[in-house]
């Protein structure tokens, strides 16, 4: 079965390699400038941590025109630096394969899994070529898999407090609420998976569903692993170098929210029974957040949110519940000074989008595109509220948002199961929150007029409590 997924040339190269213990995949697309160093780091890591194991490096290239493939092969054949040179007990293999032309993310995961399955590999790591890669990554990503303790290793990075906000505000909270696992980077560029997991997923039906191809491969892997009850852990890899400076939010939304929404029907029996969430084991270190000053144009975000809500009324009315849309329109009509976007409203919006996506009330791609302006509104609110917040405070607010998503999951279930009069009554119950995390229920930031973020520094952030629709008047939570 696995052979059918591989091109003849790739299959021929793999057959020359024979069985291996470890597979390391380097997805490249015009990375000739740095890929040599990355290959050297991988080789040093393999020699240092797995000297007795058989390993192969697979370079899956997306049509590079700068000689990335040649650079990989040269670096794989070159001698290692003197300080790292050790006598290897095994021959180091490097093979190349082509993946989707122009793809900038490590797509083509299914062929890689097929290759790992064919080679009988015990562990496989995917590493995006960046300056940050060092030999220790090999141990962090492959070690827990090779010892057969875990089936999937997700990374943790040192990141700026405002980096990866689509993950923090949407993907992580919803995925955590759905599958009950607190995986901070569910859409990683560097990760590891066991050969056993690869074989199981290849044999399962999900790998062949067309929709699974449309979502980010990495997200598909993560959701499949947690939904099927595989052991997942996190490993701290250090600073994350930016590989995808995309300002194309629509594309990012398709890869993340689109992928997550698409994964829900296939795993419905699993996620419907999950309540709450639990952390996954950390093998090394922990997430680190930095808060250097940044210059951000928040006004543009706010303007795009407002125009989006105004202009997209006909589209949003097909997706959102009338009450949710009315609340959203009300908040969008408020001036910048008094703007707020409560966490509970955001969670409801995301859940209603997920259900509309499932029911395909309009084109699914249009549903994802319509979510983008609303995310900009939440993003604006988050940036405004946290512009002077410390890293810990930001983490606390993300945690508060996640708890709101978890609590409102019952509302999603009602909508999903088509219960008439799905209710989110009491989605803002009074409860103990982390002091720093009082961002969600009816508490919004004021002073949103500043054009530029001054970065961290002062902690004297003003808050105000919204009046109508922001939490007041909701009774205690009552599942229907």
């Amino acid at each position: 079965m696995a052979e059918q997924l591989l091109s003849d040339d790739f299959l021929r190269q793999l057959m020359n390699v024979g069985e291996v213990d470890l597979v390391v995949d380097l997805p490249t697309h015009n990375h000739a400038a740095i890929v040599g160093k990355v290959v050297q780091a991988v080789r040093v890591g393999l020699l240092k941590y797995f000297p007795r194991e058989r390993a192969v490096l697979i370079n899956s290239d997306a049509g590079s025109r700068d000689g990335s493939v040649q650079a990989v092969l040269q670096a794989a054949a070159a001698s290692l630096p003197a300080d790292a040179a050790r006598s290897s007990l095994r021959t180091f293999h490097a093979v190349t394969a082509s993946r989707g032309e122009g793809a900038s993310t490590p797509s083509g995961l299914v062929p890689l899994m097929a290759a790992a399955d064919l080679l009988q590999a015990k562990a496989c790591a995917v590493i995006s070529p960046t300056e940050s890669v060092n030999p220790d990554w090999i141990q962090h990503l492959l070690g827990p898999l090779y010892r057969r303790e875990f089936a999937l290793v997700a990374p943790l990075y040192r990141r700026h407090k405002f980096e990866g906000l689509l993950i923090k505000l949407l993907l992580y909270p919803m995925m955590r609420a759905m599958y009950g696992k607190r995986i901070r980077e569910p859409y990683p560029t560097d990760f590891g998976f066991s050969g056993r997991l690869a074989s199981e997923l290849l044999a399962g039906p999900m790998a062949w569903e067309p929709e699974a191809e449309g979502m980010g491969d990495q997200l598909w892997l993560t959701t499949s692993a947690v939904a099927n009850g595989h052991a997942v852990c996190e490993a701290f890899l250090g600073a994350k170098a930016q590989t995808d400076h995309t300002s194309d939010l629509v594309r990012a939304m398709r890869q993340t929210a689109g992928g997550l929404f698409a994964s829900l029907p296939g795993n419905v029996e699993r996620w419907q029974t999950i309540q709450g969430s639990e952390p996954v084991p950390l093998t090394d270190g922990g997430a680190e957040t930095t808060s250097e000053p940044l210059r951000l144009n928040r006004k543009r975000l706010y303007a795009m949110f407002r125009s989006g809500v105004t202009e997209l009324q006909p589209v949003l009315s097909a997706i959102l519940a009338a009450k949710t849309l009315a609340e959203l329109t009300g908040f969008a009509a408020a001036d910048e000074e008094h703007f707020c976007f409560p966490d509970a409203l955001w969670a409801r919006v995301v859940y209603e989008f997920a259900v509309s996506y499932h029911k395909a009330v309009i084109s699914r791609d249009h549903i994802i595109q319509a979510l983008v302006p609303l995310y900009r509104g939440k993003l604006y609110e988050f940036l405004t509220q946290n512009r002077h917040a410390t890293a810990e405070e930001v983490e606390g607010r993300v945690e508060a948002l996640c708890l709101v998503f978890e609590r409102l999951k019952v509302y999603l279930l009602q909508l999903w199961n088509g219960q008439e009069g799905a209710s989110y009554e009491g989605n803002d119950p009074p409860r103990a929150e982390p002091d720093v995390g009082r961002s969600g229920e009816g508490v919004c930031a004021s002073g949103a007029t500043a054009d530029r973020d001054a970065g961290s520094g002062s902690r004297g952030m003003a808050h105000r409590v919204c009046s109508a629709g922001c939490g007041a008047g909701h009774p205690a939570y009552q599942p229907v």
Binding site: F162, E163, G164, L165, L166, I167, Y187, Q242, D244, H245, T246, S247, L249, V250, A252, Q255, T256, L294, R295, L296, N297, R300, A303, M304, S307, G308, E311, L312, P314, V315, A360, I362, S363, H366, Q369, A370, V372, P373
Partner: protein, 187 residues
């Protein structure tokens, strides 16, 4: 009987898989099996009605045969309008979303113009299929489309000079602004 056969042959499921059901739903039409059985009913009813008239010997045989020959054209024209409306709805919404997410001015105007153009095109094609005033319809469509494009060109070139200037200025000044902004990766 037709409805029963369609139910047994799971025509509804086939229609859902083919996407026809969604299309009909969006056009606020009944389900595909309902539509098909209604069509068969009315064709049969009309057939027997016309046969009855022809048996009366009123000299209408030629007209009746013409009417029968015309039926497929009506069906094709209806399908053209149906798909035209669905396409207009899809593409106008796609344009609206793209315009909003790209922060273009007047997204609804762009979306409405696309919907209007596609609906007019579908109607023109349907009328042509029916053979109703073919030349007039084609001429009217050509004039309308040409006038629309010319009007847009003139409006943009003359009336919208300042708007065009503002748009270009805004675009370049925004590019200028972005140079001084930090870029945040959403992922």
């Amino acid at each position: 009987m037709v409805r029963g056969i369609l139910r047994i042959s799971r025509f509804e499921r086939l229609s859902e898989n083919a996407g026809t059901a969604r299309l009909l739903n969006k056009a606020a039409l009944p389900s595909s099996s309902e539509l098909l059985s209604a069509f068969v009913f009315w064709v049969t009813w009309l057939g027997f009605f016309l046969l009855g008239i022809s048996e009366l010997g009123l000299g209408l045989q030629q007209h009746i045969s013409h009417l029968f020959l015309y039926l497929p054209r009506i069906l094709v024209a209806a399908l053209i309008v149906l798909f035209g409306l669905a396409a207009a709805s899809f593409f106008s919404r796609a344009a609206l979303l793209a315009a909003v997410n790209s922060n273009w001015p007047s997204p609804r105007l762009i979306s409405g113009a696309i919907r209007f153009a596609l609906v007019v095109l579908a109607l023109a094609m349907a009328f042509e299929q029916l053979g109703l005033a073919e030349q007039t319809i084609i001429a009217a469509f050509s004039i309308l489309f040409g006038a629309l494009m010319l009007g847009l060109a003139i409006a943009f070139g003359l009336g919208g000079q300042h708007l065009a200037r503002r748009m270009l200025e805004r675009r370049f000044s925004r590019e200028h602004e972005r140079e001084h902004e930090d870029e945040l990766s959403p992922l």
